[in-house]
């Protein structure tokens, strides 16, 4: 029981991080019907950026957090301007290759800047872990869960209540109709990229105290985030949250009770199963296009 609970706790923590990454995929997909294969690399940039700012340059934690997220959002801005806007034939195969290229490029830059070694950061707070029936719940885990749920609420409010959020939703439903009502469609796409990469950076900064961070951490995290987004139904914010938690817990239980070496294969197996059987996701209502 204690063991099971411990696995669930660590699954919840990892799942919350997958959920934030999934949110980034969902925001971008919702607005542009595009899947960014470089999304995981923005998580890596957020994590390593924070470690440099906070541990390397000794900037106070709160300011370093904001700077890391803003810096990554700026890179997301440049990415959209330089690599996505310039494409003359925006077909999926072209955009896939470009975002895969961006992913490899950013990983290469990460390796040059931060080297091949893994980096880590101390815990943000020094509270004693809470004891729940013998299993330890770290303060860090609670903090991560709170951040994730708050972020989902904030994004939900943004898309439902604010004018800009509603304009983004409108632009994603029909480009032309939105343009006719005076919504600057191109700005909405740019904003979607900036928001999506910024949430990627948020995932990166909250992960730093609980895991080793290195230049190549992004690919796996990106794929798991995508898997979570698919589980919950791509484009849905609450689906992303639920999908992330489900994946995190399943993975943690699988690693604990079956084999830790195959831990990562669980996510990919789940991803393939979802793609084959129910591409609209467990929680997705309408059928998603496979063609």
């Amino acid at each position: 029981m204690q063991e099971l609970l411990q696995y669930i706790f660590s699954g919840l923590t990892n799942g919350a991080i997958y959920a934030v990454i999934a949110l980034g995929f969902s925001i971008l997909y919702g607005a542009t019907r595009l899947i960014n294969f470089a999304h995981g690399e923005f998580v890596m940039l957020g994590a390593l950026g924070l470690i440099t700012l906070w541990q390397g340059l000794k900037i106070p934690l709160a300011i370093a957090l904001v700077l890391a997220v803003l810096g990554v959002a700026l890179i997301g801005f440049l990415f959209e301007r330089l690599a996505i806007r310039t494409v003359s034939r925006p077909e999926p195969i072209v955009l896939i290759i470009i975002t895969v290229g961006a992913s490899i490029f950013l990983r290469g830059v990460g390796m040059l800047v931060w080297g091949k070694d893994a980096h880590s950061a101390p815990a943000f707070f020094s509270f004693a872990p809470i004891d729940v029936m013998g299993a330890k719940l770290l303060a860090q885990s609670i903090w991560i869960l709170v951040v994730v749920v708050a972020l989902t609420f904030a994004l939900h409010a943004f898309f439902k209540k604010t004018l800009v959020g509603k304009a983004m939703t409108a632009a994603s439903i029909s480009k032309k109709a939105a343009w006719l009502t005076g919504i600057p469609y191109e700005w909405m796409i740019l904003l979607a990229f900036v928001l999506s990469t910024a949430t990627g950076a948020v995932a990166g900064v909250i992960i730093t105290p609980i895991t080793m961070c290195s230049y190549d951490m992004g690919t796996l995290l990106g794929l798991k985030g995508f898997c979570s987004a698919m589980l919950g139904g791509l484009g849905s914010l609450w689906g992303a949250l639920a999908g992330g938690i489900v994946l995190g817990v399943l993975e943690s239980l699988g690693a604990g009770f079956l084999s830790s070496g195959y831990k990562d294969a669980i996510a990919f197996g789940l991803l393939l199963a979802i793609l084959y059987i129910r591409p609209s996701g467990i929680f997705g209502a309408k059928d998603l296009h496979r063609f």
Partner: protein
């Protein structure tokens, strides 16, 4: 024989001559080795190009089939004392079987989902290579793979292996060429143009996509078999996601839907690390930039794109 297929025959004849001449002229073992790698990469690129360039179906996990070809043969020869030639058929057969099983559900997907599906498949196979350490040696790899022999002639000595690989390249080139110009080739290109339109005119798109996927997996496994017996040592690192990206880059730089482009792409990207010292540190940056820049500015590939620019400047 039409004009264009006559041109093709001449080109293949010229390439055969060039291969033979290079085999005689190059004396240095290092140069021969580089040419062997160009050949292996050309086979890989040709296979992926049939799938990606001609049929428009992306695969981000093709290194899996390359790895299956290499590992099956390596395991059978090292652990079960198969002769390498006897291991050729099981390794190609396993790749084809896996491609069939994976291809049937995966090729129902398209676009981003297909890319993610193949990426996930590639990752799973990579994890299996790494974790099945009883057979594969895990991350530290599998050494002592025997070299190929015909009778008492060791193919590893001198230029024999070079001729073997380039013989396979020429064979693959001719078969690919014939395939493209056949009824099947036209069906594949119609799928690239529009899958719905192809279906509407009676092309069984699922069957064709599966066939070309299996064929490209077969070629990747053949390349993997040659690679394993050429190097004598394999490790999972040669078949990871980056390996799949390298293959895609070779297709993209040579130009999608171009058989000769495959030769160019494979040659350029095999030579690049040899020319650029300290390339290992910049490898990912270079590949990433190539993928982005070629797709943004020269979506037809380097060769076609540069020719277009040249023609435009001459006409202006």
């Amino acid at each position: 024989m039409t004009q264009s297929s006559l041109h093709e025959t001449v080109r293949i004849g010229l390439l055969t001559g060039a291969v033979a001449a290079a085999g005689i002229l190059f004396d240095n073992a290092y140069h021969i080795q580089v040419l062997v790698f160009i050949g292996i990469n050309t086979i890989l690129t040709l296979g992926l190009n049939l799938l990606m360039g001609y049929t428009g179906q992306i695969s981000l996990g093709h290194a899996a089939f390359y790895g299956i070809g290499a590992y099956t043969s390596a395991i059978l020869t090292v652990h079960f004392q198969f002769s390498p030639w006897a291991a050729l058929f099981p390794s190609l057969g396993l790749a084809v079987l896996v491609a069939l099983i994976v291809g049937i559900p995966t090729l129902k997907l398209s676009g981003y989902y297909l890319a993610m599906g193949t990426l996930g498949f590639g990752m799973i196979v990579f994890i299996v290579f790494r974790e099945l350490d009883f057979w594969t040696g895990g991350s530290s790899g599998l050494a002592g793979i025997p070299s190929l022999k015909i009778g008492s002639v060791d193919l590893m000595s001198g230029r024999n292996f070079y001729y073997l690989v380039w013989g396979a390249v020429l064979g693959t080139l001719v078969v690919s060429r014939r395939l493209i110009e056949s009824r099947v080739g036209r069906a594949l290109r119609s799928i690239h143009g529009s899958e719905h339109a192809a279906m509407a005119i009676g092309v069984n798109t699922q069957a064709y996509k599966l066939q070309v996927f299996v064929f490209s997996a077969f070629l990747a496994a053949l390349a993997g078999f040659l690679y394993a017996h050429c190097i004598g040592f394999i490790s999972p690192g040669s078949f990871d996601f980056m390996a799949s990206v390298r293959m895609v880059t070779m297709v993209v730089i040579g130009g999608m839907a171009s058989i000769w482009g495959a030769l160019l792409g494979a040659s350029l990207l095999t030579l690049l690390p040899e020319w650029l010292h300290a390339f290992a540190d910049y490898e990912m940056i270079v590949y990433g930039l190539i993928l982005m820049l070629v797709m943004i500015f020269l979506p037809q590939g380097l060769l076609r794109g540069l020719l277009d620019i040249y023609e435009r400047s001459r006409n202006a």
